[in-house]
């Protein structure tokens, strides 16, 4: 049959077309030969990046040292048992048996170890921080701080534990010189979060030092100076062949240890302050006070250096090392334990009470009262129909301004506050009311953060006429609703509920009014005023140094791992007080009288006031709250003749200023001035050399500081270097131990 007869077509065209198709295929085949064989090397060299694998080595984190060079945070080597996921996966059972054996050795069930190896986000993986958030090919650390016996057992029986190794890793350690804890100042580390890694992508490539397995500072100095402390990770490029076998390596960059942070903290002063604070809390409690929390700050008034900054309750910083467990974390946030995570010196908000009176005095001196003016100090003072009384009904005839500070006579300040309020027009204020006390408080930088180099500082609250109006606009609906409905949540305490309802009713009607009573209470540091202990310390330091408000700071300098100073942080002036020397002198006089003959005399009995006179002010602040006890304050500086230190302590619900806070402050001065048996001796000072270090401590070229010899009174600390050597020694031992195993046996 003729094909053409059926289809009308010959197959010639198909043949031609078929030949064309085959030639196209042949062209492709030729191209593959060219690409994959003939020119493969050319492309391979262009694409070398695709055949190298980067292995990163975390850098050692920088140390944090105190002003004398004593380490506050350093690194210690820890034996870590790691498991290589690739090796384990190649086991017949996926490594379950190996992990079970390891589990019996370390006392953790095998399945839990397996869970720790699961990458975060995969099925059956536990939640962070228990799951593994590193790379899938990187060895997973399973057990931290393993004993040397365990490490030995694992390394020695490599065949029983394939893929399991013991490694020495650096973890944070806290040498705690003289027992100084300083937890809140130092801060803690936590695994880096996804958000932080994302944020890093916006930085230029040369600044992206954060690795997925890294820890990052989450609070305190560790957080504030994380970038400088972190160091730069090292990088080794492994060259792999097509079967992923490593055929060579190239060290691209060695890891660089982070810089050492030199702080203004003095380990010994910190230790003494912490101890004194804890003792004052116990003292208050022994007298029936709750003493729920406390804070202390020690500043160098000449430059704003923070010598000590402590909070009570505190906690052990080592709970963050490795892995914090849930119970420990909940305890840090437990109100019944006083929320130890809070850093009271910068986060605690308290009414300043009588420590505020220096500000009222300064305002009075600026508005016409003079040092010698005698102001009556009756037991009570009437503001309109409201009767305000002295603390415990004390009274004196008539007092000069310094004497009023000495006696802490409330009625004197009521009178000043009320008079200034009337001068401003009272309830019908002038167009531009002077608000002298309010502006003086602002001049002392109350109501705004001090700017210390720590995160999450509170700004406190100073309420003047404008703030009151603003708050009224905001709160009016709430107050008026409460005035109508009362406080049913307090139905088992009807009198308290009625009191609150009355206040709400009053506020609903004229909550925007800055009343005479408000002005009077403001003058004695009560009412709506809230400050942080550090704000008061800065204010008193300014009085002491002649009117300079320093920005308190903790970081003084950074020193490279080779001992070179890489950055010096200069002290910063935050502001100046607008007070003449004569006006400041009135404050000095009054504050000295407080200690020599006034409210704090008893507390400073036996203190060598002739050698290193202390100037200070007690405060016993009423908390305007629900059945709260008074706050014990003592704000001070010394030596009054040539001020150097400002010390402020506060014990919340701790009783009178003199009975608790002042006791702690005295202990700090006793230490700083080397007071023993009523005599001060600079030789016995807890500050080596009798005062803060001038400039910076000296550093050797290995990055360690030349630390002054500890005083005989100091508690000896173990030298960290030998402690760090122990695990290294073990590893060396292991290396030797393993050698005979290579020989064939039997």
């Amino acid at each position: 049959m003729n094909r053409r007869g059926v289809t009308g077509l010959s197959s010639t065209r198909l043949v031609v077309f078929g030949a064309l198709v085959l030639s196209l295929m042949a062209t492709l085949a030729g191209r593959f030969v060219q690409l994959q064989v003939l020119e493969a090397d050319r492309y391979a060299s262009i694409a070398e990046d695709n055949r190298t694998r980067d292995v990163v080595h975390a850098a050692m984190r920088g140390q944090i040292v105190d002003q004398a060079g004593r380490p506050l945070v350093t690194n210690r080597s820890s034996l870590v048992i790691t498991a290589d996921p690739t090796t384990l996966r190649k086991q017949r059972d996926g490594g379950a048996a190996v992990l079970a054996r390891l589990g019996r050795l370390v006392g953790i069930p095998g399945p839990e170890l397996a869970a720790r190896m699961r990458p975060c986000g995969t099925p059956r993986a536990p939640r962070p921080p228990l799951c593994w958030n590193g790379s899938a090919v990187q060895p997973v650390p399973l057990v931290k701080d393993a004993s040397q016996d365990i490490a030995l057992a694992v390394m020695e029986r490599a065949r029983t534990f394939p893929g399991i190794t013991a490694e020495v890793q650096g973890v944070r350690s806290y040498p705690a010189p003289f027992g100084a804890n300083a937890t809140h100042v130092l801060g803690y580390l936590q695994p880096v979060s996804d958000a932080e890694l994302q944020k890093q992508q916006q930085l230029p490539k040369s600044q992206r030092w954060l690795l997925r397995t890294d820890l990052i500072g989450r609070s305190g100095l560790e957080s504030r100076y994380d970038r400088q402390l972190r160091g730069k990770p090292g990088l080794t490029q492994l060259i792999v062949d097509r079967q992923s076998r490593v055929v060579g390596s190239r060290e691209v960059r060695q890891p660089t240890t982070g810089d050492t942070l030199v702080t203004s903290i003095d380990g010994h002063v910190q230790a003494v302050a912490e101890k004194a604070l804890a003792e004052s809390v116990q003292l208050s409690r022994s007298r029936g006070y709750r003493a729920d929390s406390a804070a202390i700050a020690v500043l160098d008034v000449t430059n704003g250096n923070v010598l000590a900054l402590a909070s009570w309750p505190t906690y052990d910083p080592t709970i963050w090392v490795g892995r914090i467990d849930n119970a420990q974390y909940q305890a840090l946030l437990d109100p019944k334990r006083g929320i130890p995570l809070l850093f009271r010196p910068i986060q605690g908000l308290l009414p300043p009470g009588s420590t505020f009176k220096v500000i009222t005095t300064a305002a009075a001196l600026k508005t016409g009262w003079s040092a010698g003016t005698r102001i009556p100090c009756p037991p009570t003072y009437m503001v309109g129909r409201r009767k305000l009384s002295n603390f415990d009904g004390e009274a004196a005839h008539a007092l000069t301004l310094p004497e009023a500070l000495e006696m802490s006579c409330n009625t004197v300040y009521y009178r000043i506050g009320h008079a200034l309020w009337l001068r401003d027009g009272g309830l019908r204020p002038k167009r531009k009311p002077a608000e002298a006390i309010y502006h003086e408080a602002k001049a002392f930088h109350l109501g705004r953060p001090t700017g210390i180099d720590m995160a999450a500082e509170s700004s406190g609250r100073i309420v003047g006429r404008q703030e009151r109006k603003d708050r009224y606009e905001r709160m009016k609906p709430v107050w008026c609703r409460r005035a109508k409905n009362g406080y049913p949540e307090y139905k088992n305490r009807p009198s308290w509920a009625a009191y609150l309802k009355a206040i709400a009713a009053e506020n609903c009607v004229d909550g925007d009014q800055f009343r005479g009573g408000d002005a009077a209470l403001f003058a004695i540091g009560q009412g709506d005023t809230l400050v942080t202990p550090l704000q008061m310390a800065v204010a008193y330091a300014a009085i002491a140094n002649g009117g300079t408000l320093w920005q308190p700071r903790l970081a003084k300098a950074f020193v490279s791992p080779t001992g070179k100073v890489t950055r010096v942080i200069k002290p910063k002036v935050a502001g100046k007080l607008d007070l003449t020397p004569a006006q400041l002198d009135v404050l000095h006089q009054g504050l000295r009288l407080v200690v020599s003959g006034g409210t704090a005399r008893g507390t400073f009995a036996g203190y060598p006031n002739d050698q290193y006179p202390v100037a200070g002010k007690t405060g016993t602040a009423q908390m305007g709250g629900n059945n709260l006890q008074e706050t014990s304050w003592f704000a001070s500086y010394a030596p009054a003749t040539k001020p150097r230190y400002a010390v402020v302590a506060v014990v919340s619900q701790g009783g009178t200023g003199a009975s608790s806070a002042a006791v702690a402050v005295r202990k700090v001065y006793d230490g700083i001035f080397g007071v023993q048996a009523g005599k001060a001796d600079p030789q016995r000072s807890i500050l080596a050399g009798g005062g803060p270090v001038r400039g910076l401590p000296k550093f050797r070229d290995d990055g360690t500081a030349v630390v002054p010899k500890a005083k005989p009174t100091a508690t000896p600390t173990p030298t960290p270097s030998t402690a760090a050597l122990a695990p290294l020694f073990t590893l060396a031992l292991l290396a030797v131990w393993r050698l005979p195993r290579r020989r064939p046996r039997r």
């Binding site: 010639t12 078929g18 690409l35 493969a40 990458p119």
Partner: protein
């Protein structure tokens, strides 16, 4: 003897038994490949690989039964070749799934959905579509009755993604249609419909278009009015290019029409005119559209910038493969963007090497040659054009994609037939295989056969033109008694 070699390849006996054996071989190759991937990457064969192997085996067996029942005399190579290609594709996709999973896990990102399982499912759908084609189309000649309807339907399908609310633009090309949450590429279905339309149109009017008028440079040229159909298809292709920014589909449609026009009219002038029109269209497109310029620029210099363009990464991969490849699971094919679809051949080339590439290329060549063999043996004009058209679609698409990946020609963005991840493409390709099987059965069944299977294999090669045909015509088995 060539006959014996072919017989050895296909196995002896009943063509369906040979097909069954070849299918067993194909499925075993795929299962071994999947196991190889798993063992290299994770050290153990995964459940998903076993599931994929079983799915492919079951679907292939079902398709085979359909062929056995309804197209018993069909070419035994067509189905196994298609199954082998799909299986190799699924293996590479599975390998990329594992790489993506590993990367996501090491970066702490959510693990992306695995695509290999879906591909196996699509294979089931494709095999079903193929079986349905064979069962529904009892005589392929029936589908040539509607040239205009089919061409119009093809046109509607091609342009469907442009309908607002229906179309989806993904990666700059408007190729997808989304209905009730399911999205598919209508151009893939249009590929089948238009090929049928072209074939039926040309089987009727081809002769008329073959009339010649003037000679230019010694080559006879058609009458100007006969240029109409070609110009229409040219305009259609250009509109696809302009409106949908889809270079590949545009080129494919035009190419298939030109090839069929040439086969139908036997006039050499048609390919020349086609080439001229193509050049004109390409030049206009290049000068007017930025996305075309980008493609050309990346073709001329793929290593521009930091050397990580898709083409450059694909070339690195191929070069890394070398002669024998990095081995399944041993390379880094995941580094190439869209490694599982457009660039699947770069992944394959990296891990299976030149040897693997040539092997897969040969599978394509054999598949296309079997298609041309059907064209050559089928007894009707429409069947010839349809079979040739299908072979052209597969050949042209393979060449355009692989040419793009190997930087022979600019990258156009077509799926690699049978290999690429994606349902619409796979289903369309299997429908085409179904049509080839249907026509092959018709060609290999004696005209007078009454359904008896005793002489099912008797259809002899039918070349009486005296031309050397061995190039394309793989001999069939000798007629048996």
């Amino acid at each position: 003897m060539a006959e014996q070699t072919a017989a050895a390849v296909a196995g002896r006996g009943n063509p369906r038994n040979r097909e069954l054996w070849l299918l067993v071989v194909a499925v075993l190759i795929v299962a071994a490949g999947l196991a190889n991937v798993d063992l290299t990457v994770s050290g153990a064969v995964s459940a998903i690989s076993i599931r994929i192997s079983i799915t492919i085996a079951a679907a292939a067996l079902a398709a085979h039964v359909a062929v056995r029942l309804r197209a018993a005399n069909a070419d035994p190579l067509l189905l196994p070749l298609a199954v082998l290609l799909t299986g190799i594709g699924t293996t590479v996709i599975h390998r990329l799934d594992l790489a993506d999973e590993l990367r996501a896990v090491s970066r702490g990102e959510p693990v992306p959905t695995a695509k290999a399982g879906a591909q196996a499912t699509w294979f089931v759908v494709g095999a079903a579509a193929m079986a349905l084609t064979i069962i529904a189309v009892r005589d392929h000649r029936r589908i040539q009755r509607y040239p205009w309807t089919l061409t119009l339907l093809g046109l509607v399908l091609v342009l469907a993604p442009l309908v607002p609310g229906l179309g989806r633009t993904i990666r700059g090309a408007t190729l997808w249609v989304s209905i009730a949450g399911l999205s598919f590429q209508p151009a893939e279905v249009a590929k089948v419909v238009l090929t049928i339309g072209f074939a039926s149109y040309l089987s009727r009017h081809g002769r008329a278009l073959g009339a010649l008028r003037a000679r230019v440079l010694g080559i006879p040229f058609p009458r100007p009015r006969d240029l109409g159909p070609l110009l229409t298809v040219w305009a259609l292709s250009l509109s696809v290019l302009i409106l949908q920014r889809d270079l590949g589909t545009s080129l494919l449609f035009f190419g298939v029409f030109v090839v069929l026009l040439y086969i139908a009219t036997e006039q050499r002038s048609w390919p020349l005119i086609g080439l001229l029109l193509f050049s004109a269209g390409a030049t206009v497109a290049w000068s007017m559209f930025a996305h075309v310029q980008v493609r050309v620029a990346l073709w001329l210099d793929p290593f521009t910038g930091d050397g990580t363009s898709q083409v450059a990464l694909g070339l690195y991969g191929l070069a890394n493969g070398g002669l024998f490849g990095a081995g399944l699971g041993g390379g880094y094919p995941q580094l190439v963007p869209f490694a599982e679809s457009d660039f699947i051949f770069a992944s394959l080339g990296e891990e299976l090497g030149l040897v693997g590439c040539i092997a897969v290329l040969l599978v394509y060549a054999v598949l296309v040659s079997r298609g041309l063999k059907v064209a050559n043996t089928v007894r009707d004009r429409f069947g010839l054009l349809l079979a040739a058209g299908i072979a052209t679609v597969i050949a042209l698409q393979t060449f355009v994609v692989l040419g793009g990946v190997t930087r022979l020609i600019p990258l156009t963005g077509l799926t690699t037939p049978f290999l690429s991840s994606g349902g619409s493409s796979l289903v369309a390709n299997f429908i085409m295989v179904g049509l080839l099987i249907r026509m092959s059965h018709a060609a290999r069944t004696p005209a007078a056969a009454t359904g008896s299977v005793a002489y099912a294999d008797i259809a002899a090669p039918r070349h009486d033109t005296g031309q050397p045909t061995q190039i394309i015509e793989l001999p069939t088995a000798e007629p048996r008694r």
